[in-house]
Amino acid sequence: MNKVLFFAHLKDAVGEEVIELDTNGKSVVEIKELMKEKYPALNLENVMAAINEEFASDEDILQAGDTIAFIPPVSGG
């Protein structure tokens, strides 16, 4: 199983900060597609992914136990 995290407007669209999902062996871009099907209100434009708290590329593959987070453009500071 994997944890999938949503922040800011993504959390509002999904209605939850964390969901559990088996995305083992899938790439970031595949998981993004999956999320868009599951949550039609989800806008992943300009949204980066992080795997285990490090920015990931679209081709990176999730392993069992990995956490994936969707990171909208940041606005701290």
Binding site: F7, D12, M48, E54, P72, V74, S75, G76, G77
Partner: protein, 154 residues
């Protein structure tokens, strides 16, 4: 604990204390506060949200980058989350260096990098609505190098 996310108001002096060193002649601090007007629109308050564990890692990374670039630098950064009112402190960056020019430049570098890579978001609340604010740099989403000149004019 030089890099942290705070749920309570930030005490500036506590951040400064973390970078005091006998070899340093200069300490700069940057204090980001909630401004009432942005592009003429009146803000009532802000909500900051962070992906806390990753945010701390990214702040640590910024500190590491600074120490590689500016000899003898020490760095501490605290970013607040939760509801912030006008003039409340959102972020404090303290940098100490042996010479003053470095303290200014390294501090500036820290705030620009925070706005690029640290997973923290703000939601602005106005009288007529609210919105999660996107990339304030208004450039490509995640540049990996130093901020561009145009980013420095905000």
């Amino acid at each position: 604990m030089n890099y942290s996310i705070a749920k309570e108001p930030i005490i500036v002096q506590e951040v400064i204390d973390k970078v005091v060193q006998r070899e340093a002649g200069a300490i700069t601090t940057f204090i980001g506060t909630v401004r009432e007007l942005t592009h003429g629109k009146k803000t009532l308050y802000l909500i900051y949200e962070a992906y806390e564990s990753m945010a701390v890692k990214k702040l640590e990374q910024i500190g590491k980058e600074i120490k590689e670039r500016w000899d003898g630098a020490d760095v501490a950064i605290t970013h607040r989350v939760g509801k912030l009112d006008i003039t409340d402190i959102a972020v404090v960056i303290a940098v100490s260096t042996p010479h003053r020019a470095d303290a200014y430049e390294a501090n500036r570098y820290a705030i620009e990098r925070i706005k690029e890579i640290v997973p923290i978001w703000k939601k602005e609340h106005w009288e007529d609505g609210q919105k999660w604010i996107g990339n304030q740099l208004e450039t490509v989403a995640y540049p990996t190098g130093k901020p561009e000149e145009s980013d420095l004019n905000e």
